[in-house]
Symmetry: C2
Subunit: 596 residues, 2 copies
Amino acid sequence: MRTCYTGEVSREQLDQTVTLFGWVHRRRDHGGVIFIDLRDRAGLAQVVVDPDNVEAFATAERIRNEYCLRITGLVRLRPEGTSNAELASGEIEILCREIEILNTSVTPPFQLDDDNLSETTRLTHRVLDLRRPQMQQNLMLRYRVSIEVRKYLDSLGFIDIETPMLTKSTPEGARDYLVPSRVNPGEFFALPQSPQLFKQMLMVAGFDRYYQITKCFRDEDLRADRQPEFTQIDCETSFLNEVEIRAIFEGMLRHVFSAVQGVELPAAFPTMTWEEAMRRFGSDKPDLRVKLEFVDVSDLMSDVDFKVFSAPANDPACRVVALRVPGGAAMPRSEIDAYTKFVGIYGAKGLAYIKVNDAASVPEGLQSPIVKNIHTQALTQLIERTGAQSGDLIFFGADKTKVVNDAIGALRVRIGHSDFGKEHGLFEAGWQPLWVIDFPMFEYDEQEGRYFAAHHPFTSPKDGHEELLETEPARALAKAYDIVLNGWEIGGGSVRIHRADVQSKVFQALNIGADEAREKFGFLLDALQYGAPPHGGVAFGLDRLVTMMAGAESIRDVIAFPKTQRAQDLLTHAPSSVDEKQLRELHIRLRSPEVK
Amino acid sequence: MRTCYTGEVSREQLDQTVTLFGWVHRRRDHGGVIFIDLRDRAGLAQVVVDPDNVEAFATAERIRNEYCLRITGLVRLRPEGTSNAELASGEIEILCREIEILNTSVTPPFQLDDDNLSETTRLTHRVLDLRRPQMQQNLMLRYRVSIEVRKYLDSLGFIDIETPMLTKSTPEGARDYLVPSRVNPGEFFALPQSPQLFKQMLMVAGFDRYYQITKCFRDEDLRADRQPEFTQIDCETSFLNEVEIRAIFEGMLRHVFSAVQGVELPAAFPTMTWEEAMRRFGSDKPDLRVKLEFVDVSDLMSDVDFKVFSAPANDPACRVVALRVPGGAAMPRSEIDAYTKFVGIYGAKGLAYIKVNDAASVPEGLQSPIVKNIHTQALTQLIERTGAQSGDLIFFGADKTKVVNDAIGALRVRIGHSDFGKEHGLFEAGWQPLWVIDFPMFEYDEQEGRYFAAHHPFTSPKDGHEELLETEPARALAKAYDIVLNGWEIGGGSVRIHRADVQSKVFQALNIGADEAREKFGFLLDALQYGAPPHGGVAFGLDRLVTMMAGAESIRDVIAFPKTQRAQDLLTHAPSSVDEKQLRELHIRLRSPEVK
């Protein structure tokens, strides 16, 4: 039947007769001849219908965009000077012998090559939107990534084991999607936020190496690039330590990038402690492509006359940092003003800066209203410590540590990605993977006045930190690691707790009482009692990873049928109201029947 | 670290030092030496701890069943006469040099090799149950099947595209699992009963070949071997006809059986129309291993004195069939009585039979109370048509067609699988695949007084049957096919409707009005307007397929964490009650708060 995909016809089939299936991408009459660009998932080919072929020509005259065709014809070279280097089939054309219209099409609501469609239009007409070559390539790429992940994990003895979608609700962390039970009135399943506990139980059951590429669900307010259902590459292994686990999974990324895109990632990914990442970049997922970093200057500013600096410099809950921008003195005032506004989003009350006109003469060579309030010794040391050169700009952050990290961290990335940053060598293109390790076990929530698990409550403390769980939880570090790529956390994991007594201590530190722990996680505590092996793992966000590899703007561009930010499917109109009969069977009723 | 899996140590490592991880399957003292059977996912190995090794021996003395260990030792041959041919590692043992207890275990609630555990015990302690070698093998087999499916489909250009789990409820067929929406009050998602419409839309979008191994959901009362969530190998392709599609997917089964179990299925699967299957076996999923078949005798019995036969023989809604059992005259009376009771389950009011003592002398050679009421000509033709020989038994079914098909169809299988059947060559072991094709488009529901789709409403009628949709829907046949293996339907599919006008006609025949069709399936009707390609596909039930390949008794034996027949997870205690706060956020309340 089909000889090959339309987009794959090439010189190799020269003078051969081929049969192709595809859609009319464009049709044009030119000098009495009809040209059809026929499209399929592999690309385009040019079909020429000559008026000598009366029957085919008559059919071709009826053809409109997006008609579905079968075409048989002879592969020949395009006339000299008309070949198209952008197409795989650009050197050849197909002289049509026979056309069959397999299906007609009404006029599409938009041109497939229109790049300025609103997202609402695209999602409402998703079937047509998916015909666009870019979307076809994105989903093909997604498939290649997932199949290469499988090949790699298979070669290392990981086996795919399916875990349930109808699970128990354990409200902790994000909000669950609930599913009312018909058979058990008043009870509910929850869709899984991750297969975490099931994969740990598979390790206790002795499966040794597990993986799954699976849907997870979080009913959260959708930020820019989140989906209610998302896909996780979920992995777990027994009997390996942190370093061994990381080696396996950075190997996976190397394999995938190499096999799918021919890109060679570094042979060993750099590793950085969480503490260092926060200190140098104000972020636990630093974009290492940006060649700027924080310099702590609290000690220098503790006795200056400038309260904005000296107050936080003397407060252990605060930090004062400098961000040196090489060549930044040339930055236009308007850009600096824009950055001042930008850091406000993150809670910064202003954005102090110093222009370094002449690094050799302090303070005269420094230009800034704040210079006069900072004594010369501090300024001299500032220049020295930041390594500032003449022509540089130094930004400052001075506030609560979190505000400084968020604001100056975001500023750092913003400058790096700006035209200015790219022109001044502050941005190095390419793939920059990084392991961030040694995360704290807990984060303290001021509002709720208690600790929360920084990773999740099943994460093992670092060796020697077990005692801190009781004495100084804030200082306890975890065997947790995130894999960061170009400033995005694309995966994370940890060595898990495999001893029931340690697990109980962590629950205590989290203020989860023995009864509550048993009620929610009794099955895990039970499982740990039966010779649970040391184990750990990782989970990657497939949507995000593919988005980055595709160079797409949104994860919605690598998901076939995504939801909008209001969690709706514009194509099928889900969610929707349902029959009263259905609700009755599920033993529920709507809270306010009028609402709609 | 680990040299290899415990179950893989063999002669090849003789005289080498190995490091193994695993669980204590058994420990025994014998002549002052401690023997440990160490177990992992690959099997068992025997570890010998000599009292000379004081430290290891002291540790070994503390060891109990299901402790998790690391063991280092020397591989040596077992003493002559003590090797175990049942184990891969049966020729060798490991002389222990070092033991580390990685985790202790409390005493398990049952012995792992106890084969008489109740299902409640097994599912409550699923983590331990999964440690049993049989369960480990079942889930490994399941994995091998799924990965070989992927390899095969990948080689043919099928790509895995994920479809949504949060979809629109379209009550038609089975009951949906619903998910209340928080963001859109009063509205609900449904978990998908299958990705049917999404995969069709992917074909319209031009992806050409799609597959997915994915969870589907049906909130039905659970029969013996159903699960609320089950796994489907879901496939769809464009531009192929029925025969081509079947060829691809029987090739998939051949590949999987060959690659996973070394079993060669037939080079071409037999094909049988639905009409023939019902006529010869009373079933659309005949078990061809059973060498018995129906013989229609309505015409012979239309004028006999025996009302039980003559009445249905003259009623077009009924049939009269004979089932000849070679050698059946030797069947003990008690067995025949049991069968009489058995067919009652299917609505048969009795089970007439004739013993053929001497096939050459009719009617004297025939033994049965009914013989005297059937004239000799009918009896003679009966013997001739059934090919009955002396020593055979002939059973009869005479009733509404459905009752005869169900009752005598079940009887046929029952006899074939009985000891009698196996001893008398009525059962041929092995794998007997079969395509059943040409299904009717519709089934008439007497109670509701309307037609239902036999497959689903998106199935294409056979060429030339489009007109019957309006004139004689009962006679319209579909391009639908089921793949049957040893009497189980393991998959099914169809060529789909790719033209909006045909789809509308089918909706009409199903009494789905234009408004309702648009409301429920508008997105499909829209999609079909834009040059939808001819397409079709198939879906396999992975759980059932693996159950059969594993020789397991229940699909629950090939699912890691299944639900009970009351749709409960006994391990994690799902479903469960949830917080009032959660319900409030979802805009629902319980119908009767007391119910629990």
